[in-house]
Structure formats: C-alpha cells, structure tokens
C-alpha cells in the first residue's frame, strides 16, 4: 500500500469514528466529492458500523437471573473462601473506638464466629430486623420499564394488589419494602392492574394450581442482625 493510500485509509477510519480535525473534515469532504474509491471505502466502513448495531442480539433465557442467584447462593469451596479472604481487597477505615471494640470482640467471640459466617451465607431477602422482634423488613424488586403501575399480591395482603403498590425507580425497576412476620408467602406482581407476572428473582416458585407459578418468599427470623 502506498503512503497516500494508507493516509486515505486512516482518514476514512477517523471519519467513521468522527475524530477528524476541522482541516481533515474539509479534506475528507473534498475527497468524498471527487474520489469515487475513497467514497466507497467510507461507505463500506459506515455500512459495517451500522450493521454492527443491528447484529442479532442474544436473548436472556428465562432462567438466567435465577441461575445467577442460585450460583451465588451455592456454598463456595473451602479453597475459594480462603482465596477470597486472602486476596479480595477491602477498604479500611480506622478509628480508635472501632479498633478497640474489634479487639475486644476478637477476644470474646471465639467459636461464635463460625456460626455467624454460616448465618450470613443463608440469608436471602431479609434487609433489616432485630432478633426477637417482628416484623422483618423484606424488599421486593421487579423490572418493568414499560409499566405504568406495579402492585404485588400475595399471602401477606390477602391477594389484594391494591393494598401494596410498588414505587418506581429511575431505571425501570419497581420496589416495595414489606414488614412481614417470619414464614412462607406466595406472591405475584400485578402490572398495570391486569397482568399477573411471577418474580424472576424468586429463589423458589410453586404451582398455583391454575397453570401459573407463584413466587415463594421464605422469611426467616432475623439472627442477631447478621444479614
């Protein structure tokens, strides 16, 4: 390739990236007007870039989100846990009171530590609560960017969606925080007052006897504030 042709190629590439200087823009526009080969090269690159925006996009399988959540909840190997503990960087924020408290806690904690670790791994949707008190706060999230209204109906509200509307977040997610006593609850979301949908994030689902599946929420008693 001649230096001239190589410069043309570079000019065409920068045209597609919209990274031309004002001088190069003038030069490029001139070339587009009278140089058929250059024009066709630019056109081919532009068509390629356009085609890239329309390549068939894969669709998430229905089980994708639930699959990720199942993997997260599966207990990692001992080696993995050790490696994470050793290598995972963490931000450290020191203060005297906190350090003293941590030192005292280390002295008295002993075998309690292993129990706390086990509890943390089994927690699911409990986001707040204190031992010995009810209710437990549980947050539900569902993605429905096109919805005008989302409600939830379940065992906790007599299957009356009007009692429990969700609040819309900026990104198309809808959320509600429910105070629930420990127990198992079936529920479904209701979109725009007419469409009943299950919760794709639910770790467990149950047949509702009518051909659909309810999400199952397993609210466990809070255990010492460890989430």
């Amino acid at each position: 390739m001649t230096p001239h042709a190589k410069g043309d190629c570079d000019l065409a590439q920068r045209f597609v990236d919209q990274e031309l200087t004002p001088e190069d823009r003038v030069r490029c526009i001139g070339r587009l007007g009278h140089d058929d080969a250059f024009r066709r090269r630019v056109l081919a690159l532009e068509q390629l870039a356009l085609a890239a925006t329309t390549v068939p996009r894969p669709v998430l399988s229905r089980d994708f989100v639930a699959g990720v959540l199942r993997r997260i909840e599966s207990k990692p190997s001992v080696w993995r846990r050790v490696a994470d503990a050793v290598w995972q960087p963490r931000p450290l924020r020191w203060n005297l009171v906190g350090a003293t408290a941590a030192a005292v806690a280390l002295l008295v904690a002993g075998g309690v530590v292993s129990r706390m670790v086990d509890r943390r791994e089994t927690a699911t949707t409990v986001v707040a609560g204190a031992a010995g008190t009810t209710p437990v706060l549980v947050r539900l999230v569902v993605l429905r960017p096109d919805a005008r209204r989302v409600e939830v109906a379940g065992d906790f509200n007599g299957w009356n969606p009007a009692q429990t509307p969700l609040e819309q977040l900026a990104n198309g997610a809808w959320t509600v925080t429910l105070p629930l006593e420990p127990g198992r609850y079936n529920y479904m979301f209701v979109v725009d007052g007419t469409t009943w949908v299950d919760d794709p994030f639910a770790p467990e689902q149950a047949d509702d006897g009518f051909g659909s599946r309810n999400a199952v929420l397993d609210v466990r008693p809070p255990t010492g504030g460890v989430m």
Binding site: L69, V127, L169
Partner: protein, 191 residues
C-alpha cells in the same frame, strides 16, 4: 448498556449491603449486554450464557471492592471480557495467540484498488457480519464488539480492557478492515 451510572447506584449499594433482589435487578438490567459480549466472543450456545453467569457471580463476590470510580457497567464489561479470555484460553484449540499485540503489522490493509460496496440488504449484512466476527482474532473481536456492537467510546473501552486508547483505535481499524475484506469474499456482498 443504556443506563447511566447514577441509575445503578441505589441498586449497587443495596446489593453491597446483601440485598439479593437488588443484585438480581442488576443482573436483569445488565444481563443482555454481558451476554451479548460473551456470545460475540465465544459464539452462540451454552458456553456464552454460562460464562455470562460466571461473570455476574464474580461481580457479586467482588462487589465489596466496587468503589464507584467507574460505571458499574464498565466494571461488569471488564469482568465479562476477562472471563471470555479465560474461556478462550481453556479451549486451547485455537492457534491464535490471545496475547498477540501485532497492531503494527500491515497485513490487513486494503489494496489500493479495493473499494468495496455492499450489495447485501442491511439485515443480511448484519447476519454475515455476525459470522465474520467469529473468525476475527479475539483481541480485534473484543475491540470491535465493544466499539460498534455495544457502542462504547474509546475511553470506556480503555477502562474495560486496560489497553491504551490509541492501541484500541488501531485494533478497531484493523478489525473493520479485516471484516470488510472477509465480507468482500461473500458472493454478492460486494461488487
């Protein structure tokens, strides 16, 4: 990923506090883009989805380290690309070096008289491009995919791949040239 960084903040913070549903929402929001990258890098099939899920699991396990210095989507892309690289290494069937940095080679420059013009309809062209992408060496494929399929700018690509901006521009240039060359060999693609 069309979402801005502020859109993710609340969900990421909730997920960092152990809110499993918030992380599920992040998976649902960003899953299509992550799966798009893994599919382009690894091909259609179960492996792409498996690696995409692995990327999210890795993100979850490293969530405590995410400090909002970059967009959450940028961070996710980086994890996904690294997972794809691991998967491609594990295949050990390709003779292409994943670490090749032959950006200075000149073998893909078009001939002076090569002035292609597409005759395929746009939808056909997209399908042909999808197939041609699979034949690109991984470092060029990932650069092209992030730039043109996912629509990232060079600065964000640099953050994702940890490669200088100018190097990435050259990789994209090479990828585009190579793809034009590959498509020109399809019957009826060019005249």
């Amino acid at each position: 990923m069309a979402m801005g960084p502020s859109d993710d903040v609340a969900l990421v913070r909730a997920a960092q506090c152990g809110d499993r549903d918030a992380f599920g929402a992040l998976v649902a929001l960003h899953g299509p883009a992550v799966l798009s990258v893994t599919t382009r890098m690894l091909g259609q099939g179960g492996e792409a989805e498996d690696v995409a899920q692995e990327a999210f699991v890795a993100a979850y396990r490293g969530l405590a380290t995410f400090q909002f210095e970059a967009k959450f989507s940028t961070w996710l892309y980086r994890i996904a690309v690294n997972k794809c690289t691991d998967a491609l290494r594990a295949r050990r069937t390709s003779t292409v070096s994943l670490d090749a940095h032959d950006d200075e080679t000149d073998g893909w420059e078009p001939a002076d008289d090569e002035t292609p013009h597409f005759e395929l309809e746009q939808a056909e062209l997209a399908g042909a491009l999808d197939r041609a992408l699979a034949a690109l060496p991984p470092i060029y494929r990932e650069a092209f995919v992030l730039k043109h399929v996912e629509g990232l700018g060079y600065d964000e690509m640099s953050a994702v791949l940890g490669v200088p901006r100018d190097t990435l521009k050259m990789r994209v240039y090479k990828a585009r040239t190579k793809l034009c060359h590959a498509l020109s060999h399809l019957q009826g693609a060019y005249r």
